[in-house]
């Protein structure tokens, strides 16, 4: 009973709070703050409690935990029942805690960040609504609930990106984000429909009864949706532009949660989605391209938030690629956890820096380690984790992924081996580039001397608090596989999800990784330290092309946008001149028929001819009807 209440409250409380918050008037800022922070805090506590329960089942705390299922029927279409099922098991409880904690940090951060924004009230409500939608995705155990949470997240992302009305880029960026993810969701919806029709039910447990062909086709469909939401090639173009939204939004939605929702969906449905080799290879290729594309773009961009966005594309590629190299889902999920921590940290830090400096261009920053020391230290931790510097968390998670890819490439045959080779190649190649741009960021922003006009100071505690809070998991999460009881639990959890090697098993891979990190960092340092110029100049003339994402936007416009708009124009012309023209033509024909006939010969002849034609017509019609009904 308590369990079912928890399962219902976990997504239900923030959804309700968000809905109520949307109805609050603009002036009630205090009430909005209370509502948002308290509901997110309550949900975080609830999620942590459930996660602790889950830990308990593995022997750390002595309480027995069983997965909780909560279902209610939404309706039945003929013989197809639509039942919403919420499931709270170990995996969903852990991911829910992640989501809730990052959301709480972001909510607290937003209080200061949007202190002077008059539209704070709807912002906080939308943020809470988003948290509820993500928790719905995390706790769903049937496709329809998943779809509801999935699309609701997309809507909240759209509303939040477009939050700042004075930013001319914001409405366009919001629209682009929604449309691009919606294109991916064509496939997602078709995948859901296929599975529902093929398996006779939308429940995750029963999806396996669909035929193999259905599963493959549905796998491609669901993959399309995941690629859209997780900003992988070719549906990645929306994420850099989405940085037009407020920075806390970028921290929550576009680094830690929504983009990770795709990873979670594949983790949950991996038996279905990755059941076929074709899907596996496609995902490996796409993810590999995204890894490299994102890394190169991050290394060449000047806008701090765009660099982080491209970096997210790259890291998500790592996560998705991890699923293709073997069936244990623990390693990519581990990377999702660590990535959430350090990327949210980096975005919040970037927000603090941007507010202090007044611009997001890294060319105008520098020397901030003296005026914003705490932020500099936290950012260093985050960047180190991103680059994969031991013993920070990123080293362990990325390392285990590459180790698995190595194992798959060398020992597995067929598609799995090929996927492993692709992942290993792209992933290893991106390691020095990642280290390069991480050091580049720190040097350009915090190193050297200040290049801008304003006088930056370190931020208040409402801003620094979440930063420090996120630095702790960034540094320590890597320890989870190693130490004592927690290590036992993690190994056992991994065993439950079929994890093989969670740690960088062979010594070769971590050595190689480590040396590549040092290589990339050394390159960045050597290009910078003499006269503090941007290390990205090493890319030479390719820099603007790479920064733009290798013509991603232009290709999208040429391949999709322009043809659709041309089709729209044509449809409108056909509709108005063709179809409607025919209708209007009938009216004109009737009028001119009168004119034509009246220009005949004598009036009597006209009458007679017309009347005779009519009589013959009616007689024929009568014969026809009589013949039909006889």
């Amino acid at each position: 009973m308590i369990g079912k209440l928890c399962a219902a409250l976990l997504p239900g409380l923030p959804l309700l709070a968000g809905g109520v918050g949307l109805l609050l008037p603009r002036s009630s800022k205090r009430a909005a703050i209370w509502l948002a922070v308290s509901s997110t805090g309550l949900v975080a506590l609830l999620a942590l409690w459930c996660a602790a329960d889950a830990l308990g089942s593995f022997g750390v705390i002595g309480v027995k935990f069983t997965p909780i299922d909560l279902s209610f029927t939404l309706g039945s279409f003929g013989e197809l029942d639509v039942t919403a099922v919420l499931r709270l098991d170990g995996l969903s409880a852990l991911v829910a805690s992640l989501v809730a904690l990052v959301a709480l940090a972001v909510q607290v951060y937003s209080i200061a960040h949007l202190a002077r924004d008059e539209r704070y009230v709807p912002y906080a409500a939308q943020l809470t609504l988003f948290t509820g939608a993500m928790l719905l995705v995390v706790s769903s155990a049937d496709l329809i609930t998943l779809l509801i949470g999935w699309e609701l997240m997309g809507l909240c992302s759209y509303l939040l990106i477009g939050h700042d009305r004075t930013n001319p880029a914001a409405p366009a960026a919001a629209r682009k984000a929604f449309v691009v993810t919606r294109v991916g969701d064509i496939g997602f919806l078709l995948g859901v429909v296929l599975l529902g029709a093929g398996a006779g039910s939308f429940n995750f447990d029963q999806l396996g009864s669909a035929s193999a062909a259905t599963q493959t086709a549905a796998g491609f469909g669901l993959l399309a949706g995941v690629l859209g939401k997780s900003a992988q090639f070719p549906l990645h173009t929306w994420l850099p532009d989405a940085m037009a939204g407020p920075t806390p939004v970028s921290a929550l939605i576009h680094s830690a949660t929504m983009v990770a929702a795709g990873v979670y969906v594949i983790a949950r449905l991996d038996a279905i989605v990755l059941s076929s080799d074709a899907v596996r290879l496609t995902l490996a290729t796409v993810a590999g391209v995204s890894i490299l594309l994102g890394a190169c773009a991050a290394a060449t961009n000047d806008d701090l938030k765009r660099v982080l966005a491209w970096s997210t594309v790259s890291q998500l590629g790592y996560m998705l690629a991890g699923f293709t190299v073997s069936s244990p889902i623990a390693p990519p999920l581990f990377h999702m956890f660590t990535h959430a921590a350090f990327k949210a940290l980096l975005f919040l830090g970037a927000g603090a820096v941007i507010v202090a400096v007044g611009s997001s261009s890294m060319a105008r920053m520098g020397g901030l380690r003296r005026s914003m020391p705490i932020t500099a230290v936290c950012a260093a931790a985050g960047l180190g984790a991103l680059a994969g510097v031991p013993p920070l968390s990123g080293f362990w998670s990325k390392g285990s992924l590459l180790a698995l890819a190595d194992a798959a490439a060398t020992s597995d045959g067929g598609a799995s081996g090929l996927a492993g080779a692709i992942v290993l190649g792209c992933g290893t190649l991106a390691v020095p580039i990642t280290a390069f741009y991480c050091l580049r960021i720190w040097l350009l922003v915090f190193g050297g001397s200040y290049r801008g006009p304003a006088a930056p100071r370190d931020s208040g505690w409402l801003t620094l608090g979440p930063l420090i809070a996120l630095t702790i998991p960034t540094v320590l999460l890597g320890a989870v596989p190693l130490y004592g009881q927690l290590g036992n639990w993690w190994a056992a959890a991994g065993a439950n999800y079929g994890a093989g090697a969670l740690l960088p098993g062979e010594a070769l891979t971590p050595l190689l990784d480590g040396s590549l990190v040092v290589l990339g960092a050394a390159l960045a340092w050597s290009l910078w330290h003499r006269n503090q110029r941007d290390p990205a100049r090493v890319f030479g003339r390719a820099q603007p092309i790479l920064a733009d994402g290798c013509y991603g936007d232009a290709m999208q416009r040429a391949l999709v946008v322009t043809p659709v708009l041309a089709a729209a124009r044509m449809a409108r012309a056909v509709n108005e001149h063709g179809v409607d023209g025919a209708v209007r033509g009938v009216g004109l024909a009737v009028r001119s028929a009168g004119g034509v006939v009246s220009r005949g010969h004598s009036p009597l002849a006209r009458y007679v001819s017309f009347a005779a034609t009519g009589a013959v017509g009616v007689a024929l019609l009568m014969l026809l009807i009589a013949g039909i009904t006889a």
Binding site: V590, R591, A593, G594, V597, S598, R606, Y607, F610, A611, A612, T613, G614, A615, G617, V618, A619, M622
Partner: protein
């Protein structure tokens, strides 16, 4: 028995009526053409009743209905024609049509069938 001739005659009447509606511009002659169509309908009703005779002579009863309705319709129609003549000075429907159809916001008809929405009746605003 087969009643071909009355049906053919009715068809002739109907076609003449349709022809009249299509070609006549004078409102009164238009109404006369409509009368022809109604006459054709009456003829069909009576013939059908005589040939397929239902018990209650329903066809002939309906024919009476049609006659009454035709009378009512002619009354109202002629009243409208008179009103038309008083307002426009002519009973030519093509002339009336040109003024009432593509309204640019300034109708001369001052009756209650007018759109008094101030925003829409200002052409300069609508062009936005």
């Amino acid at each position: 028995m087969h009643a071909v001739i009355p049906y053919i005659v009715a068809a002739l009447l109907c076609s003449t009526g349709v022809y009249g509606i299509v070609i006549r511009r004078n409102v009164v002659l238009l109404l006369m053409a409509v009368e022809l169509i109604l006459a054709a309908a009456t003829l069909i009703l009576v013939t059908a009743d005589a040939v397929h005779g239902a018990s209650a002579s329903t066809g002939q009863v309906f024919a009476l209905f049609v006659i009454v309705l035709a009378a009512v319709e002619i009354g109202i129609g002629l009243a409208i024609a008179l009103r038309l003549y008083r307002t426009f000075g002519s009973v030519d429907i093509t002339e009336v049509d040109a003024q009432g159809d593509e309204s640019s916001g300034s109708d001369t008809d001052s009756g209650p069938a007018e759109n008094t929405d101030p925003a829409a009746s200002n052409p300069a605003q609508v062009k936005l």
